[in-house]
Symmetry: C2
Subunit: 162 residues, 2 copies
């Protein structure tokens, strides 16, 4: 049973253990691969962030939620999710995504947008499609993959309902 | 004759006089309409910013230049441009755009992306098309226009060459 709760500064260790491998790998997130622990946690916790934990209190995932733009774009939310590799295939990402949609609605957002879904990240693409997202934009050579070179990135979008 | 130079804190007054009306109007920029002077200038000058001046040293436009994403997205630049209404039709926006492409290339960027071009902003759309951009994404109801309600927003993109 996985539960999700708001993350705080006290979760720094757990968040870093989830985020560091993903950032260092550089295949799915448009974050600098050499980003320091402090800088990354500052960025992640600057927004509303959540942590997913299993029955033993072990961190299995995290996500942040923020406005994608200000002003006239302020009704569109943006999230980023990271699942621990050891917990993959257990529906953690899906649980976090559904949690984030509810949370976004609660905060008054009308839509959710992901700005840079790397086209080689087939697992994420499958899940976002399953959850009602569609590709509304394709950025040609928008992402430099560490081993595959320049690949396309997608903008994905879903209306959350009124 | 319009010249473009880097903007500094000393240009705060001129920048604010250019930016305030656009932000307050809220029709073309995804910035909070009630944003304070300090906050806006902080945001604008946090990135590399430029100011366009006419022969008399009067400010006729400004733009910022930044990375659109970090990591694998770090080769794509992002800019925002504002032209003084009294100077419209004199090619100031085009001059700033071309300046920004050169500046972006100089900084090593490979492409330029605009994330939220409001679909009702026909002047901007015309110019971006003229300058080689194409619409690579359409965000349905991605922008809440103060008088027209929810309208689409475009993601526009242009490769800058290697």
């Amino acid at each position: 049973m996985v539960t999700i709760r708001p993350a705080t500064r006290d979760d720094a260790e757990a968040l870093w253990s989830l985020l560091e491998p993903v950032i260092r790998e550089g295949e799915t997130y448009a974050f600098d691969r050499d980003m320091s622990r402090d800088r990354l946690l500052q960025k992640w916790l600057h927004h509303r962030a959540f942590i997913a934990e299993d029955d033993d209190g072990g961190a299995v995932g995290t996500y942040f939620l923020k406005r994608n733009h200000g002003g006239g774009g302020g009704h569109v939310a943006n999230c980023g999710y990271v699942t621990d590799p050891s917990a993959r295939g257990q529906g953690v990402a899906r649980l976090m995504a559904e949690h984030s949609f509810e949370e976004a609605r609660r905060q008054g957002f009308k839509a959710m947008q992901y700005n840079c879904v790397v086209s080689t990240n087939t697992g994420a693409l499958r899940l976002w499609h399953l959850l009602g997202f569609r590709i509304v934009g394709t950025i040609p050579k928008g992402f430099e993959h560490p081993t595959r070179g320049l690949v396309d990135a997608y903008v994905m979008y879903r209306w959350l309902g009124d």
